[in-house]
């Protein structure tokens, strides 16, 4: 019994270490400007003034819209394009199929950071710098998504595909009415990961955006934290950046690591 208590106490300490930076962030973000805040003491009351302030005086609303567009469009396009390719990789025979698949997977070995500069020169050639096109399109090639969906579709029972073929369904109908519905659990997992990845992405939006009106939340946050804004305002922007991720995670936790969540 004492052993269980010790275990729980240790886990509580570790958990506290994991979440306390978020608590500090929130306390500072909600501190009234005329009261002492951390590290000099705790404020006597909390206020939403800083939050409303950054919403009206900084580029925050625009950054929130940009980040939402970036994440939402990416989720839809990555899921659709990757599942289409995964379907033919898993269920069709054509010359060069395996070589093609593994050449896509091999791109995973190249760190994203190293190709940022040539990618930027490329979108400069296309005239896409500082546009949604330039921000979004170069980030949509997702080999993990293709690979994961291909494994999943390959493991689906052959009988299903035989049956729809006998019923005379073509590839499009098979894809739309059979493959996509059956892939729903793995698509949900992927959607969460792709959303988080794009929401939190930093280096690419940092270089693809020039003007403040094209910033994403992460770029905006790094900009205000390097500028003149006060600490409570910076922490307010940080809180706005974090909340959607924590919310998505809390609501869709089942779909993350779904095979691990017991």
């Amino acid at each position: 019994m004492t052993r269980q208590r010790l275990l729980t106490a240790l886990l509580a300490v570790i958990t506290l270490a994991a979440v306390s930076p978020f608590v500090l962030m929130l306390v500072i973000a909600l501190s009234p400007s005329d009261e002492p805040t951390l590290p000099h003491g705790l404020p006597g009351s909390l206020t939403l003034r800083n939050l409303t302030e950054v919403f009206t005086t900084s580029g925050l609303p625009r950054w929130l819209v940009n980040t939402s567009v970036y994440a939402a469009v990416s989720v839809v396009v990555v899921l659709l394009s990757a599942s289409m390719a995964a379907y033919v990789f898993a269920r069709k025979r054509f010359p060069g199929r395996d070589a093609l698949l593994w050449s896509l997977v091999a791109t995973l070995m190249v760190p994203v950071h190293t190709v940022v500069m040539p990618s930027l020169l490329l979108i400069a050639l296309m005239g896409w710098v500082d546009t949604y096109w330039g921000l979004i399109v170069p980030t949509l090639a997702n080999a993990q998504a293709v690979l994961l969906l291909r494994q999943f579709i390959r493991a689906l029972p052959d009988e299903v595909f035989d049956a729809v073929r006998i019923d005379g369904a073509g590839d499009w109908r098979t894809y739309w009415h059979v493959v996509l519905p059956m892939c729903r659990p793995v698509l949900a997992t992927l959607a969460v990961f792709v959303f988080l990845w794009h929401w939190n992405d930093f280096l690419w939006p940092l270089v693809a955006a020039r003007s403040g009106s094209m910033y994403t939340l992460t770029v905006g946050l790094s900009a205000v934290s390097a500028e003149h804004l006060g600490l409570p305002e910076v922490m307010s922007v940080a809180a706005v950046t974090a909340l959607p991720c924590l919310l998505v995670f809390a609501l869709l936790r089942r779909h993350l690591f779904s095979d691990l969540a017991r």
């Binding site: 886990l11 070995m109 988080l196």
Partner: protein
């Protein structure tokens, strides 16, 4: 013929996305690294001059060493903390789900946010060249250990309980049970976690950008930050591309060595 056409149409979006935005930049990076291309467009082919320059440049060599130092701090710490947490979670009778969910909060939020909050927590400590790298490693551990814990916990749970119980009955100590039963069975999960954490740590950028800008006195001037600095501050694209190829090669080499070392049977 029509079926072949349909197959092509299904592949087309992915082919275009990968062709234009993965393979062209990769080829471009290799090509640029052999030129002295800068902003302004005038360039000539310089062969391996960029690489030769880099390996004679004290700043670049220092950034290699700094990156290795960061990886050597961050990866073992992350794996050790994650393994300990996973074993604790596995033995805990209640609260497992709650703890596990809370541990993942740093993992699902942005590194920029981590940098902003931790810069405030560390304060003047980040002005010390001796402490800046350990401080960045702490942020790396904080950010990454939740994910590693979840993977390792799944691994720990696949170890049959009877195996561990049988060893306990035979008089094996807790350490012996960990060393000789749990760890060997955890090998695949450990290999995966070490590989993922290492590849991530070699590319550390966001926290460096937000917390230190590579300073003080280049004590946190990592490779990924150097690439950014060459490419986007100094606009020396050829040099940035060459540094990128070096980072790519280093990660590939370390991954191979790790794979060999951890795959070897005990």
């Amino acid at each position: 013929m029509r079926r072949a056409f349909t197959t092509l149409v299904f592949l087309l979006p992915v082919l275009v996305l990968f062709g234009v935005f993965r393979f062209v930049p990769m080829a471009g990076m290799l090509g640029l690294s052999l030129t002295d291309y800068r902003l302004g467009g005038d360039w000539r082919f310089t062969g391996t001059a960029n690489y030769a320059d880099l390996f004679q440049d004290a700043v670049f060599l220092n950034s290699l060493a700094t990156t290795l130092g960061y990886v050597a701090l961050c990866v073992p710490l992350t794996v050790a903390v994650a393994l300990g947490t996973a074993l604790l979670l596995n033995a805990a009778r209640w609260g497992r789900r709650l703890f596990r969910a809370a541990l993942l909060a740093p993992y699902v939020t942005s590194l920029v946010l981590a940098g902003v909050v931790w810069r405030w927590i560390f304060g003047p400590l980040l002005d010390s060249p001796a402490f800046v790298l350990p401080a960045l490693a702490v942020v790396g551990v904080w950010k990454g250990f939740g994910y590693a814990t979840v993977i390792l916990l799944a691994g720990v749970q696949t170890v049959p309980a009877d195996c561990v119980d049988a060893a306990r009955v035979d008089g094996a100590s807790a350490w012996q049970r960990l060393r000789h039963i749990r760890l060997p069975l955890l090998r695949p999960a450990l290999l995966f976690v070490v590989a993922v954490e290492t590849i991530g740590a070699f590319q550390v950028f966001d926290t460096v950008y937000v917390m230190t800008n590579g300073g003080p006195m280049r004590a946190s001037y990592t490779l990924a930050y150097a690439i950014y600095d060459y490419g986007f501050t100094h606009l020396t694209y050829g040099r940035a591309a060459a540094a990128g190829v070096v980072l790519w090669a280093v990660i590939l080499l370390v991954s191979l060595v790790q794979h060999r070392a951890l795959e070897r049977k005990p």
